[in-house]
């Protein structure tokens, strides 16, 4: 039993990458949910983006039905998206900062009653 578990633990496969990427994703989510500084939130979002890419590439390596790098291509698309997102996001943050002189997410409560 322990042998099998050990074997599973030491033979790196798809599951390892998935758990890695999932954990990374949720750490990023933690930053999004729990940090006050809006730039930290943005950083959390970036972490989440990256972790998704690990998934794509891992799936491409282990489960692709064709000898193609579709996962990689999509990872690149995601990276491009992330770049665009961070640009727009930072622009928004700076724009808000100019108006409210604050980077605290809790001050961004326009939607309040």
């Amino acid at each position: 039993m322990i042998d099998i578990l050990m074997d599973k633990f030491l033979t790196i496969g798809l599951e390892h990458f998935l758990i890695l990427s999932g954990t990374l994703f949720f750490i990023g989510l933690f930053a999004v949910l729990a940090k006050k500084n809006v730039i930290a939130v943005l950083m959390g979002i970036e972490i989440m983006f990256t972790s998704v890419n690990i998934n794509l590439v891992a799936f491409n390596k282990y489960t692709a039905a064709e000898a193609l790098l579709t996962g990689h291509v999509f990872a690149i698309f995601v990276i491009a998206l992330a770049a665009a997102e961070v640009a727009v996001g930072l622009a928004l943050i700076i724009s808000i900062y100019r108006q409210r002189t604050s980077t605290d997410v809790q001050d961004f409560d326009w939607l309040k009653w």
Binding site: E15, F26, N53, V57, K61, A64, I94
Partner: protein, 166 residues
């Protein structure tokens, strides 16, 4: 065995730095830890034989995005840098939630039976990616290009503000 050691090392670095990034009270440290985490992810790509992606990861994330973030920090930072990155009031429920998520994720991944295939992906990734991207996914490629342009224009407009026409 080497593979396992490398994997766990990289995973530890990636997750550890990401976690520290969240924990850190100094936003500047957070940004640097995020950089380490990104590089760790690049190493994961290498483990996955995705050398081109690893390079892109280093260039875009570790290079461009981190620089962006650091610019943002510098634009908005004020006061004591050691108190720049506190937790909000949601920290505890969020932590519980995240733990739950991580457990759920792990259990799900382990319990799921994955449809493994034995087909090996091409070794030379750059050419393969280029082929795919400029043939099958050329539309997506173009759209991404437009998106980047739009994001750039949008970012400039948002930051500069639009002059109100009378």
């Amino acid at each position: 065995m080497t593979m396992a050691v490398m994997f766990y090392l990289i995973a530890f670095v990636t997750l550890g730095s990401a976690f520290m990034m969240v924990i850190s009270k100094n936003i500047f440290h957070s940004a640097l830890l995020m950089l380490i985490s990104f590089i760790g992810v690049a190493a994961v790509y290498i483990l996955l034989h995705a050398d081109f992606l690893a390079a892109v990861q280093v260039l875009v994330y570790a290079g461009a995005i981190t620089i962006f973030i650091v610019f943002g920090i510098m634009f908005t930072m004020k006061g004591d840098p050691r108190k720049t990155n506190p937790f909000s009031k949601n920290a505890i429920p969020a932590a519980v939630l995240i733990l739950l998520f991580i457990v759920i994720n792990a259990v799900t991944v382990i319990k799921t039976v994955w449809p493994f295939s034995n087909i090996a992906p091409p070794e030379t990734t750059v050419k393969a990616i280029a082929d795919l991207m400029l043939t099958k996914y050329v539309v997506g490629f173009e759209v991404t290009a437009v998106l980047l342009l739009a994001a750039m224009v949008g970012a400039i407009v948002i930051v500069k503000g639009v002059k109100k026409s009378s």
